[in-house]
């Protein structure tokens, strides 16, 4: 047994990947955090009061967990899904009835999406109720509000992708709200004065046309799968970094 242990661990390859052994020393515990690219945003030491679940509810971390689940299942779904008017609905049905493990991938994605929206709102509620938006955390509150909006936008753009009646009319109604927005929508106030028509307003840019069609489906897909997740990830890292820089995770005063 010991010889096998030596063969696996006492060679150049193992040592090039794992720089340390696992003796439980303060130094080793610290090194494990800041020597690891996935953990280096995390503080090396955490106060005992900072991990009191009854104070933070862990909602921010759970939101991030939901995001990771959504990223993984989302990539899986993309292997079967064509963002075209003819195929989108059928591909969604294929995932539900034919593709191996398709139905669990789709349902995980769907439920995790609902879950993330709910949890991110509870996170915001907790931050507000504990006053954690106050100095020096005002900037991070701002980032958090943007992330909340991005979460809603992810949810909204994903709604159209099954190309069913529910999503189609949700996007119809949602983009019509854009059309009714002052200054940038053709049905909103000042639209006549500014010569805003259905062909040059914000709705047109969202749909890639004047009606909900193939362009709208493709645009939703790109925003949902590429653009918004990319922006979100960048802001998430700013958000997590600032939690540390603003004095660590919010915790009880006493």
């Amino acid at each position: 047994m010991n010889s096998l242990y030596d063969k696996v661990k006492k060679n150049l390859i193992w040592k090039s990947v794992f720089r340390r052994d696992y003796r439980d020393t303060a130094r080793n515990r610290a090194m494990a955090i800041f020597g690891n690219v996935f953990l280096h945003l995390h503080p090396v030491r955490v106060r005992e009061s900072a991990v009191k679940l009854r104070y933070t509810w862990g909602m921010g971390g759970i939101t991030f967990l939901a995001f990771i689940i959504l990223t993984i299942t989302g990539v899986v779904l993309m292997f079967y899904y064509h963002p075209t008017v003819d195929l989108a609905y059928l591909d969604m049905k294929d995932l539900e009835f034919q593709a191996p493990y398709g139905v669990i991938s789709r349902n995980l994605h769907r439920w995790a999406a609902h879950f993330m929206v709910i949890v991110v709102m509870i996170h915001m509620f907790r931050v507000f109720m504990t006053g954690s938006y106050k100095a020096p955390r005002q900037f991070n509150w701002g980032i958090g509000v943007i992330l909340l909006v991005l979460t809603f936008l992810l949810s909204f753009t994903g709604y159209l992708l099954p190309w069913d009646q529910l999503g189609f009319w949700a996007i119809t109604v949602g983009t019509n709200m854009g059309a009714a927005t002052p200054l940038i929508g053709y049905q909103g106030p000042f639209s006549e004065f500014l010569h805003i028509t259905p062909y040059n307003d914000i709705r047109f840019a969202l749909l890639g046309g004047a009606q909900v069609g193939g362009n709208a489906l493709l645009r939703s897909y790109i925003w949902h799968c590429i653009a918004i997740p990319l922006i979100s990830v960048i802001l998430m890292f700013v958000h997590f970094w600032r939690v540390r820089k603003d004095g660590g995770i919010s915790r009880p005063q006493h």
């Binding site: 109604v173 004047a210 362009n215």
Partner: protein
């Protein structure tokens, strides 16, 4: 360290000397550098926004022909062009025509014509309209909009969606827009 200090003192000692000129040039180049970057980003941002507005659309044309007047019996709503063009061709009991956009004035869903109840009903939030497009139930704030309908050279009815008669709250569009009605 000593050299730099000496050099600095010497430059300070020369009024209007190379030190000041160099500073001006550096400031100028800094401005040019940041300015170019700002300009580059501004132009790119504009291009990025403009990119979202395509020049060519592959959507149905906004002017289209819908057959001859005799194809339409009086007192009927024709939903044949609803799916592709979002338009109903309606002939009133007195024989006059008008074209109405199949779009609920609440949030833009497509109502259905219910022949048995003689009304348009929106499936989204339950708005109801008379055959003239006047709203009488549900959350719709105003009557549905009409398009210009006319007789083309070949005698067919022609709809022009670029000319629109928007419904006025509480008003009957037959009276507000007599020009939306076509006698044929």
């Amino acid at each position: 360290m000593q050299d730099e200090k000496t050099l600095h003192d010497e430059q300070q000692g020369l009024p209007g000397g190379p030190a000041e000129i160099d500073t001006d040039r550096r400031k100028f180049l800094t401005k040019v550098g940041w300015g170019s970057l700002a300009g580059f980003l501004a132009i790119n941002s504009y291009a990025f926004l403009r990119f979202f507005y395509p020049r060519v659309l592959f959507e149905p044309p906004s002017q289209f022909k819908v057959g001859f007047p005799n194809d339409y019996p009086p007192g009927t709503v024709n939903s044949q062009y609803q799916r592709e063009f979002g338009t109903w061709i309606i002939r009133l009991q007195d024989g006059r025509f008008f074209a109405m956009e199949s779009k609920c004035t609440h949030l833009g869903c497509t109502p259905s014509w219910l022949e048995s109840q003689k009304k348009f009903k929106c499936p989204c939030h339950g708005s109801g309209y008379y055959i003239s497009g006047l709203n009488f139930e549900g959350p719709a704030p105003r009557p549905m909009d009409r398009f210009k309908i006319s007789i083309a050279e070949d005698g067919q009815l022609q709809v022009d969606k670029t000319i629109k008669f928007p419904g006025v709250p509480g008003k009957e569009s037959n009276e507000v827009y007599p020009q939306s009605l076509l006698k044929a």
